[in-house]
């Protein structure tokens, strides 16, 4: 799947980033749900993909999202110790740590890919972090350099 991104010419103040969010089923997805039923407002820029656990998130999901042209990626799981599968998020944390450093090393802007924890009871925190992520990625501008070019 590829997403439409605004090309350089049409970047203007109205440009809104498209952010893909991988949320774990047990905490973050429920947190998003809570934010919704509690009517907490947060920016509509994220598109949620529900995954069983943050440990399910293959780094390839993240890299693929960037080459497909998403402007930002967000990954969210249960707080350490709260994983439904005991340790999925702890294994994932090591993976994300390395991916994060490698992306930076390869010259991908820090902030293009974000990681966070949000529990099922943290609707407010979820909304706040989405606001923050959207702001970060809005400042970075569209993801043009890593997007696959149809030469």
């Amino acid at each position: 799947m590829t997403v439409q991104t605004v090309d350089d010419k049409s970047i203007n103040e109205n440009w809104e980033p498209k952010i893909i969010a991988f949320l774990c089923n047990w905490c973050s997805y429920a947190g998003a749900d809570l934010a919704g039923v509690s009517r907490i407002q947060y920016p509509p820029n994220i598109r949620i993909v529900r995954v069983p656990c943050s440990g399910r998130i293959n780094p390839n999901f993240i890299i693929k999202s960037l080459t497909d042209g998403w402007d930002g990626v967000l990954v969210s799981g249960c707080h350490p110790g709260d994983c439904h599968y005991i340790s999925g998020n702890l294994v994932a944390r090591r993976r994300f740590a390395i991916l994060n450093e490698l992306l930076e090393f390869f010259g991908i802007e820090p902030g293009r890919v974000n990681f966070m924890w949000a529990s099922a009871a943290e609707g407010e925190r979820f909304a706040n972090l989405i606001k923050k992520v959207t702001k970060i990625i809005k400042e970075l501008g569209p993801n043009t350099k890593f997007k696959k070019k149809w030469c």
Partner: protein, 343 residues
């Protein structure tokens, strides 16, 4: 005080004692075959060789062009060395530091059993950066390479050029801290020849400072400039002792994960993901860069991987057989400074 020998004499000494060890191992039936290096048919090369008979051991050589990581020949992907009845053989592997590390790490990952293996340790004195020399010579054929007085002398039809040995080593060899295969109590049975008692490796990674001080844009430009000539032949992957997957992620086609074209984002995706997969596993042998037909230098990425793993998990791959690989385990208190927090 030990007087530093010339590289040439060092090579001869290493070669001599290696052949002797190999000979003894075969004679005493401690191993059935020996994997080592033999003289290459073109300058700037060496050819891996599998030796089965005692009288063939004099084909073994050691010089500063033995860049292939021989541990590759033992990974499950490769056809296993068997006798005519299909029984697995005992194998001796001529091991410089990084080959030994690769074997140990493969054992940590339960890919090989060290019981059937003898690590014939040699004190490696570094590999020559053949791609750099080839590039600097340019469009003249190199016919002969010799090392005299710590200089690499390269001869061609109508030229002769000399390179200082220390400077023209592989970047990874320059900063190598494990020149001989690591040895400790649990490995005593496995190691023969010259091995190194080592339990941890100290490294300051100062060679990365220059690159890391670059801005994001500069880094991106550097990566694009380095990788853009990649033809996707996967020589780097095939030469890597740690790339033993039966189906590499780029080869997965049900469905296709990543494109296999030479479009720059797909090239970067391959190298980025491969680096990701090698975190905590790469043994810094530099084989990937040495075999690249296009002369792409991947050493910087290798060093970065080492640095991340050392810094975060205080782990160096292939040193100890007991410690779990960092990506297969976790700690409750792993640092998570990169996690987003509310303002």
């Amino acid at each position: 005080m030990v007087l530093k020998m010339g590289v040439e004499a060092e090579n001869q000494n290493i070669e001599k004692s290696m052949i002797e060890t190999a000979n003894n191992l075969l004679k005493n039936k401690e191993v059935d075959v020996i994997i080592g290096y033999s003289k290459g048919t073109v300058p700037l090369s060496s050819a891996p060789i599998i030796i089965r008979r005692e009288e063939d051991t004099d084909k073994l050589i050691w010089n500063n062009l033995c860049y292939v990581n021989l541990a590759k020949y033992l990974v499950p992907l490769m056809p296993q060395l068997c006798d005519s009845e299909g029984n697995s053989l005992k194998i001796g592997v001529v091991s410089k530091g990084c080959v030994g590390r690769a074997l140990i790490h493969l054992a940590v990952e339960k890919q090989i059993k060290l019981d059937d293996i003898k690590i014939i340790g040699i004190p490696c004195n570094g590999n020559i950066n053949r791609k750099r020399i080839e590039k600097e010579i340019g469009e003249s054929e190199i016919l002969e390479l010799s090392i005299v007085d710590n200089n690499i002398n390269v001869k061609g039809k109508d030229f002769e050029q000399s390179f200082p040995f220390d400077e023209y080593l592989n970047e990874l060899c320059k900063v190598c801290k494990v020149k001989s295969p690591p040895n400790n109590e649990s490995l005593a049975e496995v190691c023969v020849g010259e091995c190194l008692e080592i339990t941890s490796v100290e490294d300051d990674f100062s060679d990365l400072d220059e690159y890391e001080s670059k801005s994001t844009e500069e880094k991106w430009d550097y990566i694009i400039d380095t990788l853009r000539t990649c033809t996707r032949c996967y020589a780097c992957r095939e030469a890597c002792p740690m790339c033993y997957c039966h189906l590499c992620f780029v080869d997965q086609n049900k469905p296709i994960w990543f494109g296999k074209t030479t479009e720059i984002s797909e090239i970067i995706t391959f190298h980025l993901t491969r680096a990701m997969h090698l975190a905590g596993r790469c043994v810094a042998c530099g084989a990937c860069s040495s075999v690249c037909p296009m002369g792409i230098d991947l050493n910087l990425i290798t060093r970065k991987l080492e640095k991340i793993v050392k810094g975060r998990f205080n782990f160096t791959s292939g040193i100890d057989i007991e410690t779990l690989a960092p990506m297969t385990t976790f700690k409750m208190d792993d640092s998570e400074e990169f996690m987003l927090e509310e303002d």
